[in-house]
Amino acid sequence: MFKRLISLEWKAFIRSASAGKSIGLKILMVFLGLYFTLTFLLIGIGLYPFIQEYFPGEEPIYIVNRFLLLWLFVEFSYRFFLQTLPVLDIKPLLILPILRRKVVNFVLIKSLYSFFNFLPLLIIVPFGILNIYKNEFPVSSILAWMIAMIGLTLSVNFANFIIKKRFTDNLKALFPVVLIIAILALLEYFKVFEISYWFGKGLNEIIAYPFLAIIPVLSFLFLYKWNRKDLENKFYLDATFNENGKSADTKDFLWTRRFGELAPYLQLDLKLIWRNKRPKTAIYMSLLLLGYGLIFYTNDTYLDMPGFLVFVGIFMTGIFMMNFGQFVPAWDASYYPLIMAQNIPMEKYLNAKSGLITFSVVVLAILTTPYVYFGWRIFALNLVCAVYNIGINIPLLLYVGSFNKKRIDLDKSPFMNYQGTGAAQWLVGIPLMVIPVFLFWIFYKLSSFEGGMLFLFALGLIGSLMRKRAIDFIAQVYKRKKYAMIEGFKQKDS
């Protein structure tokens, strides 16, 4: 049975309309993957001598245990943002004589083969072997430790699914988790209760009593079962249907009237965002990531590297632009034939989209103004980045959108529907951020900070002035690719 499910998955991948594009993207991912593999392997090999060097007289494995909780938190964070949840289109399987549990097990076990589970092994195994080689502890202790580490990694894997799902289903549910983490972090910071210390102590016990390695393994099994139960309960077409059907939102966004002929399109887009989980998440993300600046502005090393500040500026004012804009026109995929057959001129359609994104950039730019606390330069730079986003990045994103042939299913049952919330989504943002950073850096080196800022500002301004011509050009491209887009959007794949 597993074999059949695997072959279904494989066919879905190679026969999808976007296969070509996914392969291009996948090659890039492979390179990134190789890079991280190498990095982690080097860490794994170098960790033991490194600790010996910097913590002379201490047992490396105890030091690792001491910081392990912190690492697990980091691991959890990057998984949260980068790891896609395992997906499978269950609808056709529902009525077939396949045990529900088998399908759910398949989905969950599939997730074990994730790259994110493979990376920690590259540290755990070499580090463990070095420990055995050094012969400080009995082999059984080190083996138990390695098993415990793998158990913890897999626990993070499945804990992430549960929390990520809760987060996409309901933002409020995440609040207690954030609160607990914040409290623990504060207690740790003020050295009231250093949980990472006690956690490390606990792990040290595993080395003393190897059979204790059963605890992380049990925690992994528990989380696995939790996930399984969760998925089994959702194994119905109407799992979340009632909730949706209960009462429709009646907001009409009448204030958009003032935008004249673009009003109906803006209303439609606002409803799209407001009433569908995925675009709505993009909004929450944007607000959440506004805090990104705090990481950089409070750190002097970054303040001396203005390139980073450009990156942060583009990112903070453009996060909604990237999250939403890169899926134009795929958001409208499920009714793209209507858009094409109705009385909708392409230019108007694109103008409405770019108008909406521009609006988001302006709002986010206004929300970043409190960063003036860190100096007028940062304040001015963020505004310049917003102008650059509006002038250059928005047309660029809309243009790239014409290559987008992958459907987004807005009204698909939300069961395991997390299309495009993974690493690939962030990759698209790289050129949008790297190009301005590079341009700024050149002018910064040639003249000054202000020179670089002026250059970005000028580019953004020129782009804004050319907006109409750019949109006309992009509309031509969209018209040319129209048939391929309609065809691509028709393909439903997960």
């Binding site: 409803k271 034939p337 057959a341 048939y483």
Partner: protein
């Protein structure tokens, strides 16, 4: 209203549509029948410029479809659920379509008043999104939306399928009312021979992309079509052997 010349569509070497010449005059209620794969939807999709013809072209009111978009303001259509916007309530959808066809809210409301019995109180004012409606109700919404704004050409693919009997009968009446003044052209495809002969003035039968019959509807048409579709040449059809 519609002229198609030398129109062909080829997918991977297989010709799915091949029409030498087809003229549909203004104001006609034109019916298209044929088995699955006859090319009905392909023809409609070409007419709406959703796919590109391999050869030939279609003129919609003397405008070449595919070169200009100026046929869009007077053409409306409902092909399948990809013409619906799932996250809108039915009213919002009607207003949106109305907006695109220069009808304000009041116009649309006035227009919808004619469809009270068509909707059976199941669609308007229900605080439900289109995606949560049943297939039949979705279809009703799509059909009615295609009639908003006095279009000169209405294209409906399989409008009778999924509709309940009451609505089917009501719908036939609506089509007749709308075409009474003779300047609205209807293009309808169907598998239901009784309905299509009941409503269409002219019926064209397609088989594997070719027009095989072109009939002006009369008393005998239904009989003629039934004889045709139960005919021997379908049993010998190589595709099914």
């Amino acid at each position: 209203m519609i002229t198609a010349t030398n129109l062909t569509k080829v997918y991977n070497g297989i010709t799915v549509l091949n029409i030498d010449q087809l003229n549909i005059p203004t104001g006609q209620i034109f019916g298209l029948v044929g088995n699955n794969g006859a090319g009905k939807t392909t023809f409609f999709s070409l007419l709406l410029d959703l796919i590109q013809p391999t050869t030939g072209c279609i003129f919609n009111n003397e405008i070449t479809v595919g070169q200009s978009e100026s046929w869009k303001p007077f053409t409306s259509s409902f092909i399948d659920e990809s013409f619906l916007i799932g996250y809108l309530r039915p009213e919002e959808y009607f207003y949106f379509i109305g907006e695109l066809r220069n009808q304000n809210k009041a116009d649309v409301n006035a227009f919808l008043e004619n469809f009270g019995d068509f909707f059976h109180d199941e669609i308007l004012g229900k605080r439900k999104y289109l995606r949560d409606l049943s297939k039949g109700n979705q279809k009703k919404v799509g059909i009615v939306a295609a009639l908003i704004g006095n279009p000169k050409l209405v294209i409906l693919d399989e409008p009778f399928a999924n509709l309940d009997p009451t609505t089917q009968i009501r719908f036939k009446k609506i089509i007749k009312e709308l075409t009474a003044n003779g300047d609205t052209t209807f293009l309808i495809s169907s598998h239901d021979l009784i309905h299509i002969t009941g409503v269409c003035e002219r019926i064209v039968v397609m088989d594997r992309g070719v027009l095989v019959k072109d009939i002006i509807t009369s008393e005998e048409t239904l009989q003629e079509l039934e004889t045709y579709f139960s005919g021997e040449h379908f049993k010998e059809d190589k595709r099914f052997s």
